[in-house]
Symmetry: C2
Subunit: 364 residues, 2 copies
């Protein structure tokens, strides 16, 4: 288990009150006292370490066209946060405030809106320089805008209302988890089509990269995760980086994130490269995808729809791997984010998936 | 006086209680019972008809580097609004709510923040697909984000807090007037430099287009305003359009708006043309401007600063006129916005300003 994931597990056990000290939590987890399962096995997604425990509030995203739902925890912002493996007291305190105040408040506000139209919001954000993986500034502001009237009229003490909106305003990744759940709800709806070579999951746990394919049931095709290349915060460098981690590649799986970078030129200041590179990545992704999104359109590409639906066969035919952008976690537990950059899945995942598709076809 | 301006004057007189019926208001104004002065003579700017009266609350933008201030009324949103010449009861009611509730609430919230950093906000918005003249969606969301924590904790009844934030959320041009005042505060600081050929004002009243030049004191150089070319709302067309109107060309004067369209490709859906056109307009403006903004940077142009500071000499040398984008008002009073498009100042303004500069130089 990678450092940041170990750190997040420690933090989660402290948060749930299942351990009172980090050492105790680490021993409990190492001794097999904790059952681990991928978020993806529960219609859920979590960025980076992605640890989701019983008492964490979650966003619920409904795919109203297909009736399925997906879930994701609330984003903690940057700095010392559980998802990057930090477990300091302030991290645990914040999670408890999420559980006791923020989660219920957001829940009530969202219910009062009758539900926020996630597709319309993402479509707007893509016209506002977000790609909704590592740039969520517009989407987060739009979400605040949608919820603020309801949050402002909640029956809470004025300082608590202010704190909720100040936390939201201070977190440019507020929307990330919502967007991920939206992508998950879309991808899950495409899963399980017989013989389909469409990739419906790309996920990483800091050690392995795994994909799942629509026509290949619940099998994971895994290989060792790559380490992202990018820009580092002051004091850190490539030697500190953990390999690729988190469920957030669900955004690329659904055609946004790295696939929509062409519409988010400002992101290169965060992940590296130039605006021309960002356009090039997006254009390249049309080579390995099956469709173009009719709602998510990219103004700099003359409003072309986002390249959507990675095809295992096209990846293997062209040799072009999906372009993912990602936060970079320190490889040791308890430190947190040290940068952001670009990464690709290992080719081996697609190779073994293609073999499995061929085997199914022969067997079928 | 153009139709929309006449309509706005009628509405303003009704709002101020100086007339009780539209006919009465129109007669009062026509009979010389009202004194008119340009916003620009009062360090103020107003979009479209731009009518600003004694009891309207205003945003105050401070140029902290130079100590001057500029003012602008609160933006009313789209549809039936005073600035497009509408004066129906709902228009007047909204203005009264601005005066009694919204203005004081925004004022208190802004004071609690200690002041919103307008330059940082505009810089961000330009990285989020706004050009801050006819696209203010990101800037407005960022302003809401900055004020929401304070608005949410105001001592007002919950439905009033919700109404304030819902109004703000429903108005994608909430920031326009703030941005205009910021541009005015910047432009005014550049006014009055001896012999300077820098344009410090471009404004239109629906009939005439006028410019002022830094080294030419308070003189206006005017000519007949052009009529914008653009896209019309259903049921309207070019024959309904009023000539160019409003102080909002202060945005282009300060190097954003039409000058920054290259970073706002989605705006072409509103004003016409293609994303490539938008880039071309921005690139062209470097030919007639004296500098590049060090804070306002355009990601699609590799983070080049906005083309800033129109030089009368460069306009005349190159024959390139400033590119303005603009809302289009119906030419009759009382109807409102019918579209949006592109327009340029008449060349004659720059011609006469250049002559005056030459005359000053010879005389000096």
């Amino acid at each position: 288990m990678s450092g940041p994931l170990r750190g997040a597990v420690v933090g989660a056990l402290l948060y749930e009150g299942l351990a009172s000290m980090p050492d105790e939590a680490a021993r409990l987890a190492a001794a097999g006292g904790v059952r681990f399962e991928p978020c993806h096995h529960h219609a859920a997604v979590g960025p980076m370490a992605g640890v989701t425990t019983a008492s964490m509030p979650v966003f619920v995203v409904e795919n109203r066209a297909r009736g399925n739902r997906a879930y994701s925890t609330l984003n903690e912002g940057l700095g010392k946060v559980l998802r990057y493996g930090a477990f300091a007291p302030e991290v645990i305190e914040r999670l408890r405030w999420f559980r006791d105040i923020l989660g219920p408040a957001l829940g009530e506000a969202i219910r009062r809106t009758g539900g926020v139209d996630g597709r319309a919001l993402i479509a707007q954000a893509l016209r506002m320089g977000d790609e909704c993986h590592n740039r969520n500034r517009a989407a987060s502001a739009l979400l605040i805008k949608a919820l603020a009237p309801h949050l402002a009229s909640l029956d809470l003490p004025p300082p608590e209302r202010a704190r909720i909106l100040a936390f939201a305003a201070g977190n440019d990744h507020l929307f990330l988890n919502v967007g991920m759940a939206a992508c998950k709800a879309a991808a899950d709806a495409a899963h399980g089509l017989p013989r389909s070579s469409l990739v419906t999951t790309m996920a990483r746990n800091g050690t392995q990269f795994g994909i799942r394919v629509s026509g290949l049931g619940d099998r994971w095709f895994t290989a060792e995760a790559e380490t992202p290349v990018g820009l580092y915060f002051a004091g850190f460098g490539a030697a500190d980086a953990n390999p690729d981690i988190g469920d957030s590649a669900i955004t690329e799986t659904a055609g946004i994130g790295g696939f929509a970078m062409g519409a988010a030129p400002a992101i290169v200041e965060f992940v590296g490269g130039t605006p021309a590179d960002a356009l090039r990545y997006t254009r390249l992704m049309y080579e390995i995808t099956l469709g173009e999104n009719t709602a998510y359109r990219l103004p700099p590409l003359d409003f072309r729809g986002t390249p959507t639906g990675i095809d295992v066969r096209l990846v293997m035919q062209t040799g072009i791997l999906p372009q993912i952008n990602t936060g970079i976690a320190h490889r040791e537990a308890g430190i947190g984010q040290i940068g952001a950059g670009l990464v690709k899945p290992p080719r081996a995942c697609f190779e073994s998936a293609l073999r499995a598709l061929v085997a199914e076809r022969r067997g079928g």
